[in-house]
């Protein structure tokens, strides 16, 4: 199998977008022909390891706009999950001779090992411009030049990142012990959580009980946690009807809740707000968000293609952060339940750590709740 895979590296390969535009590149990583996925781009200049291992990219063909990828090789301790869930990986150039004292191998080998196809040598800037103009589209990766037969194109046309949470959420409950003395017990409702979420909580004295997405509110409440963390995750939030229903029960129980990314969207849906698909989303490590309460602006790490529509927020929910670039909703504070959520990634990895204080805020919320007067501020 290894031989067969190697033989494709450097071979021409084509990416056709749903709008008919074709980009030529060369194959690396695992071989493929006929792969389809949703094509998205990320502008992060560092953090490709975290991008590759972020389960939120499940079902997507991810394009890096920074042209030199793989410079520091593969560093397993920096992975954000055990697997790679994205469908394919597109770069301008991958680094054959990576350099870093922690480096354990190169990008190509890792993609081959994990069975992920890659394309290099593509005009990634043009690809990003195309997606920016036309919006997120599906794409087809083929080893032969167009034109394509209808049966080759059909899977691309009908493709949808369908219920991806099922694929990336853990099957079993895992307990991560608190660092030092256990001060809180937190349930991490894992829709494809990045590892740094539980690390940030552990660091702050939380025992983290990582539970599958399919867990029920009863099961979670039975664990008697101090708070519930709604994780990030892939796909259309509306796919998760069951989870949304269960989340409502959690907030009805006035359990302190902190939600990130998909978790933010799910809670909003649970409370009656609506979400929508963005033209091409926010992916990268340079998105400015403004805290509407303090006026402070933070640079954040983001990865989302759906947004909570601010004007659909119900009573009892207030927008707390907005995106400085496009004014979209970046955070919600609930006044009728001790909960707050953000669209961006305070756990960083990759990207700036400017908002990691939000985890501290979660601890405060749990403290207040113990005293019985928790109101989200």
């Amino acid at each position: 199998m290894g031989e067969a895979q190697k033989s494709m590296t450097g071979q021409p390969v084509y990416l056709m977008l749903a709008n008919g535009r074709v980009f030529e590149g060369k194959s690396f990583g695992a071989p493929t022909d006929g792969l389809v996925g949703e094509v998205v781009f990320t502008t992060g200049m560092v953090g490709y390891l975290e991008t590759l291992t972020d389960p939120s990219y499940a079902g997507q063909i991810v394009v890096q706009t920074f042209p030199l990828i793989g410079n520091y090789g593969m560093i397993p301790e920096d992975y954000e999950s055990k697997g790679i869930y994205l469908s394919a990986y597109i770069v301008k150039e991958w680094c054959k001779a990576p350099s870093n004292y922690r480096c354990q191998g190169d990008l190509d080998s890792m993609l081959r090992e994990k069975g992920i196809p890659g394309i290099y040598g593509i005009d990634t800037r043009e690809l990003a411009r195309t997606i920016r103009e036309a919006g997120t589209m599906n794409g087809l990766i083929s080893t032969h030049k167009p034109p394509y037969l209808e049966e080759e194109l059909a899977p691309m046309r009908s493709y949808r990142v369908d219920h991806p949470v099922d694929r990336v959420s853990p099957q079993e409950t895992v307990i991560y012990p608190a660092e030092g003395e256990r001060r809180y017990k937190v349930v991490l409702w894992d829709y494809g959580a990045k590892a740094n979420i539980h690390r940030e909580l552990q660091k702050r004295g939380c025992e983290v009980i990582d539970v599958p997405a399919a867990s029920t509110a009863e099961e979670i409440l039975a664990l008697q946690p101090d708070g519930v963390m709604l994780s990030n995750g892939p796909g259309d939030p509306e796919d998760n009807e069951g989870v949304i229903r269960e989340i409502r029960k959690i907030t009805d129980a006035r359990m302190p809740v902190f939600g990130i990314c998909l978790g933010h969207q799910l809670l909003a849906l649970a409370k009656g707000a609506k979400t929508g698909k963005m033209k091409f989303g926010h992916r990268g490590g340079n998105q400015p968000v403004k805290n509407l309460e303090t006026g402070r602006v933070y640079i954040t790490s983001q990865n989302h293609g759906y947004e909570v529509l601010a004007d659909t927020l119900p009573a009892g929910a207030e927008q707390s952060f907005i995106n400085v670039n496009d004014g979209t909703c970046e955070g919600v504070r609930y006044t009728d339940t001790p909960a707050y959520t953000v669209q961006f990634h305070p756990e960083a990895c990759g990207g700036p750590k400017d908002t990691e204080w939000l985890f501290g805020k979660f601890l405060e919320l749990m403290d207040e709740n113990r005293k019985g007067d928790a109101v989200c501020r």
């Binding site: 560092v46 953090g47 706009t65 920074f66 520091y72 990576p98 922690r102 005009d123 402070r296 750590k353």
Partner: protein, 1065 residues
């Protein structure tokens, strides 16, 4: 918070003359800042002693003072102008230090002037080594073990515990002046003593050596609300141990994983927050390559050279945003000009890499020590943008104007393996080429990493370049090898040389846009760079933004170097503005990140590209200009003339043939003869024998120079056959293809004019006269405007001859002519039908917008229609004196004796009602302390002895004690002066000229010698010692005389007139 309503009038302090470590980047920053303030309706008062800047244009600020930058003068200006605030962070170290002094002495409080940008506390936290250390410790940021000391003994004691090597950094000095690495006690003693003396507060930091760690920088912005962003990260290819200004730098950092990157980014944010900076800040870190241990090296609480680079690398206008923040705006209230949609509160995302390559002056200072260390030696830099590192590096190298189109450098290729290793260890300016050669010889990356500590990533990329080269050699020229080579930055000339293919079919470059956001948002930034094999965005942009106006292309002047400085950026920018005003769409090509011309909103479109034939032709292909302008970008632009002619691209203004006519010795001599204009006898030679023969025929002394050079590069006066042999050896070794010119050297009064010619008439804004007689390069002379020693008849002769020359050369635009008056006869030295170094100076002091008029002449307008008349312009009300400024303290082993080869890096201007007043102000601005008591040491060569006595008498009369070497002392005594004899170094080891310098008895040294340059000569040693002790060393009797005259005048810092530039008119 929006604009602070209590602000109405802001004082901006510029950075003064260009010196190594403080160059054009502050003109760019200051100009951007002044404009940002003015557009808010604030009244701007600007002070800068440097007339060669755009910021000192009367259009940039409301009140412009070209006055000395010192405390007394600034106080007087504040009292006169009554600003309510002062912006401290955009005038480099000079501006910052002066602002701090004004605040600390209580003056600002007394006058109710608010300090904007950085408070004195902030400045202390960053600049005072001890407070810096405390601040970092308080916020948990690691620093390198170090100790602030005030004595050499304490330094030695510290090193005893920390171990060697140790690094010495003097407090409050520029570009690490006076610092160094000491490997043992002897070295430490020497460096520490020097550093203590150079530090204005006599304080140095001794720190543990961490040479070899990665050097990473972050540019950070913070507003008053505490919002912080990092604009850009940068990684030095050369690890800690080589000053970042002398390092090859890549942006963004490439060898850091997200964990390390975010660790340092968070540290940078932590630092700027704790210091409370409101504006831009530069944080330098050292990162241990094999762990996550790091240390903060330095924090600059102001706009810096690195921020200019970061600005151009990302498109983020750091100086503009810093100025807006200083007057109250928050980052999220300042629009991002690039996208027009988003705000300045974001972090640029790059989809390219940027490489900066330094420009060193060692081609001029052949005896200068080339070794690089903690003291910056580069005078300028180039930047290149590419889609990969190899491409950007190759572009940077060919744009640096070091006669390199690739990494193969002859001077390292000829070395034996052992010598090559020595060269690599020696870490001089050629190290990158030596490392490349070593890789080609099969040395391993591991070996070279161990030897240089350059990260393996960079070494692997260099290896990749070598592999492509190898493939070109072995596989030859075909579509595939060509495409690969182009993708990684190989120019056609190199591909052709390596493959042996004569007819390489050029595939045009494609241009990409710099948009700050990696294509995430629609941007219409007219800022492009080239790559190969991708979509072309420039063509698309031009189509989408067509104004229907004809396109004109202006070539900039490349990196700042001695002889071609900021003046040419001034001229280029003014040409762009004039063309825009005249209704053209203007495109500029340049590769210097420190300049105003490379701001993307100066021209209609900016191409950040090397100024080489291939790169420029690629831009021409996409822009299709109706013509190109080569006259304002110095030698860099002029060199492109040949390419333009070959490709039938029209040149606007003076034509190529005229440029050749002025340069070609034979043709020029014929022209002069036909015009009946005198020229010193001369010859053109190629070999040592020819040179000796010519000199013998013409008679010594003779002036020698290569043809086709600017700034008197490699120019000397030869007094005998030995001089000629030494000179020819150096020139021929440098592989200069053009002939060498030899002229009879006429030691007369040097006159210089810049004229504007429309093809039928000329306008002469005035005549400059040099204080120093011919023989000192015009760029190093003190130049007086208007000339004060000329008869009316001579003035008319100069006008007539200038007109004849300008018309004969069919000049359309500017022409610079240098004359010498010898025995009351006017001789032409040289004519350059293009913008000269003195254009900004003459424009400012005459009030004639010379570049503007010249550009209009170029376009066909007539001077008679422009409102300034023709002929010799009226005399100004004031006298103006341009005084050169040198950077000798940064350049070990360079002789300070002035001669025909230019050595100054910058200039200042003194303006006064009388010559004495102007000269006094000019000298003060240039850094002379103007001491009137103490000692003067005089040692002059034989031929100067006839003239020295009256000058010495002036110093004696002022009250100085005279010291002189034997021969000179006899002459002075014979003239009735009291003088103390001083032994030469070899005559008495304990009491000689050297110990006299060291013992602090001297205020001035007058030293001329027949021979110079070679560092081992006594005369050079004394002069170097004077530089180390900051004692002005006058190497021309004319300068010494002028200084004496000025000292004898009654002018002081309190009684000179403060002249606002617009009052000159």
């Amino acid at each position: 918070m929006p604009l602070n309503q209590s602000l109405h009038k802001v004082l901006v302090i510029g950075s003064g003359p260009i010196v190594i470590g403080q160059a054009a980047e502050f003109d760019y920053a200051g100009t951007q800042a002044c404009r940002a303030l003015k557009e808010e309706g604030l009244e701007v008062v600007l002070v800068n002693s440097n007339p060669a800047t755009i910021m000192t244009d009367t259009a940039i600020a409301d009140h412009v003072y070209v006055e000395p930058l010192n405390l007394e003068t600034l106080k007087r200006i504040i009292l006169k102008e009554r600003p309510d605030s002062i912006l401290s962070t955009l005038g480099g170290q000079t501006g910052l230090t002066l602002s701090m002094e004004l605040a600390k002495c209580g003056f600002l409080d007394e006058q109710g002037v608010k300090l904007l940008g950085a408070s004195p506390e902030t400045i202390d936290k960053a600049e005072d080594r001890e407070i810096f250390k405390e601040t970092m410790q308080a916020i948990g940021e690691p620093i390198i073990p170090s100790l602030v000391v005030k004595t050499v003994e304490s330094a030695v004691n510290f090193a005893g515990t920390s171990g060697y090597p140790v690094i010495v950094r003097p407090a409050f000095t520029l570009g690490g002046t006076g610092g160094g690495i000491a490997d043992n006690e002897d070295e430490l003693r020497e460096i520490a003593e020097n550093g203590l003396r150079l530090s204005p507060i006599h304080q140095i930091l001794v720190e543990k050596g961490i040479a070899g760690w990665k050097e990473i920088e972050f540019e950070v912005m913070r507003d008053s609300a505490g919002n912080v962003i990092t604009v850009c990260s940068m990684e030095n290819l050369d690890p800690v141990g080589i000053h970042t200004g002398d390092s090859i730098v890549i942006a963004p950092a490439v060898t850091l994983a997200d964990k390390e990157y975010q660790m340092l980014r968070s540290a940078a944010i932590n630092i700027i927050q704790s210091m409370g900076i409101e504006g831009g800040c530069n944080c330098q870190f050292a990162l241990e390559p094999e762990s996550d241990e790091y240390a903060v090296i330095e924090v600059n609480p102001r706009v810096s050279r690195s921020s200019a680079l970061a600005s151009k690398a990302t498109g983020y206008p750091i100086a503009r945003v810093a100025a807006k923040i200083a007057i109250g705006y928050r980052l999220d209230e300042i629009p991002n000009e690039i996208t027009g949609e988003t705000m300045a509160c974001f972090e640029p995302a790059l989809d390219y890499v940027v490489v900066k390559f330094p420009k060193w002056p060692f081609d001029k200072f052949v005896y200068g020590q080339r070794r690089l260390g903690t003291q910056m030696k580069a005078t300028g830099e180039v930047m290149a943008i590419g889609r990969n590192f190899e491409q950007a590096l190759m572009k940077a190298i060919r744009g640096a104007e070091i006669s390199q189109y690739d990494l193969n450098r002859n001077s390292v290729q000829i070395l034996s393996d052992a010598a090559l290793r020595d060269k690599i260890r020696h870490q001089d300016d050629e190290r990158i080429f030596a490392v490349y050669e070593a890789l080609k010889r099969g040395w391993t990356i591991e070996d070279l990493h161990a030897e240089t500590m350059i990260d393996e990533w960079f070494l692997a990329k260099l290896t990749h370049i070598a592999e492509i080269e190898d493939r070109l050699i072995h596989e030859g020229y075909n579509d595939e090898t060509y495409a690969e080579a182009k993708q990684y930055g190989f120019p056609d000339t190199v591909i052709s040389r390596l493959t042996g293919a004569r007819n390489v079919r050029h595939v045009p470059a494609s241009f990409r846009m710099v948009d700050t956001c990696a294509a995430e948002f629609t941007a219409s930034t007219p800022y492009f760079y080239s790559t190969h094999g991708e979509q072309d965005e420039a063509a698309e942009f031009i189509q989408g933004h067509t104004s229907g106006k004809p396109v004109v292309m202006v070539f900039g002047s490349g990196p700042i170097r001695i002889g071609q400085g900021i003046e040419f950026d001034y001229a280029s920018v003014h040409c762009v503005w004039a063309l825009k005003k005249a209704g053209y769409e203007v495109v500029i090509v340049n590769n210097n990140p420190e300049t105003v011309s490379t701001d993307f909103n100066v021209a209609d479109r900016l191409y950040f590209e090397p100024l080489t034939p291939e790169d420029v032709m690629d831009v021409i292909r996409v822009e299709k200009p109706i013509g190109c302008v080569v006259a304002f970008g110095g030698g860099t632009a002029i060199k492109l003339t040949k390419t333009l002619v070959e490709n039938n691209i029209p040149i606007l203004g003076t034509q190529a043939d005229s440029i050749d006519l002025a340069e070609d010795r034979g043709r020029f001599a014929e022209l002069l003869e036909s015009l009946n204009i005198k020229q010193a006898p001369g010859a053109t030679v190629y070999t040592v024998e020819e040179a000796l023969e010519a000199a013998g025929r013409i008679g010594y002394p003779v002036l020698m120079r290569p043809s086709y050079v600017l700034g008197g590069q490699n120019m000397i006066i030869a007094f005998d056959d030995d001089d000629i042999r030494e000179y020819m050896y150096i020139i021929l070794a440098g592989g200069i293809e053009n002939p060498v010119l030899i002229d009879k050297y006429l030691m007369g009064l040097e006159i210089e004019v810049d004229a504007i010619c429309d093809g039928t008439d000329i306008l002469l804004p005035g005549i400059m006269e040099h204080i120093e007689r011919a023989g000192v390069h015009s760029g190093d002379s003190i130049a007086v405007f208007p000339a004060w020693n000329l008869s009316e008849k001579m003035r008319q002769t100069i006008l007539q001859e200038s007109r004849k020359l300008a018309l004969a050369l069919k000049t359309k635009g500017l022409v610079n002519i240098q004359y010498v008056i010898y025995d009351d006869q006017l001789y032409v030295i040289e004519v350059n039908p293009r913008a000269s170094r003195t254009i900004p100076y003459v424009s400012k002091v005459s009030g004639i917008p010379m570049v503007d008029l010249a550009t209009r002449c170029m376009l066909g307008e007539k001077l008679s229609d422009m409102g300034y008349g023709t002929g010799l312009y009226r005399r100004p009300k004031y006298m103006c004196v341009k005084v050169p400024v040198f950077s000798f303290e940064k350049l070990t082993d360079v002789d300070v004796q002035l001669g025909p080869e230019m050595k100054s890096t910058g200039e200042v201007l003194g303006i006064g009602r009388t010559l004495d007043e102007a000269l006094y102000k000019g000298l003060v601005a240039a850094g002379y302390r103007m001491d009137k008591t103490g000692g003067v040491f005089i040692t002059v060569q034989d031929r100067d002895q006839a003239e020295i006595a009256p000058i010495a008498a002036k110093y004696a009369k002022i009250g100085f004690k005279l010291y002189a070497t034997h021969g000179t002392a006899n002459v002075l005594r014979a003239a009735g002066l009291t003088v103390e004899n001083v032994h030469k170094i070899y005559e008495n080891p304990s009491y000689n000229s050297m110990t006299l310098v060291e013992n602090g008895h001297l205020q001035y040294i007058i030293s001329t010698s027949k021979k110079g340059r070679q560092p081992q000569r006594d005369s050079v040693k004394i002069r170097r010692k004077a530089v180390e002790h900051s004692i002005p060393c006058l190497t021309s009797l004319d300068t010494a005389n002028a200084l004496a005259e000025s000292l004898m005048s009654d002018y002081s810092l309190d009684n000179t007139e403060l002249v606002e530039l617009k009052d000159l008119l």
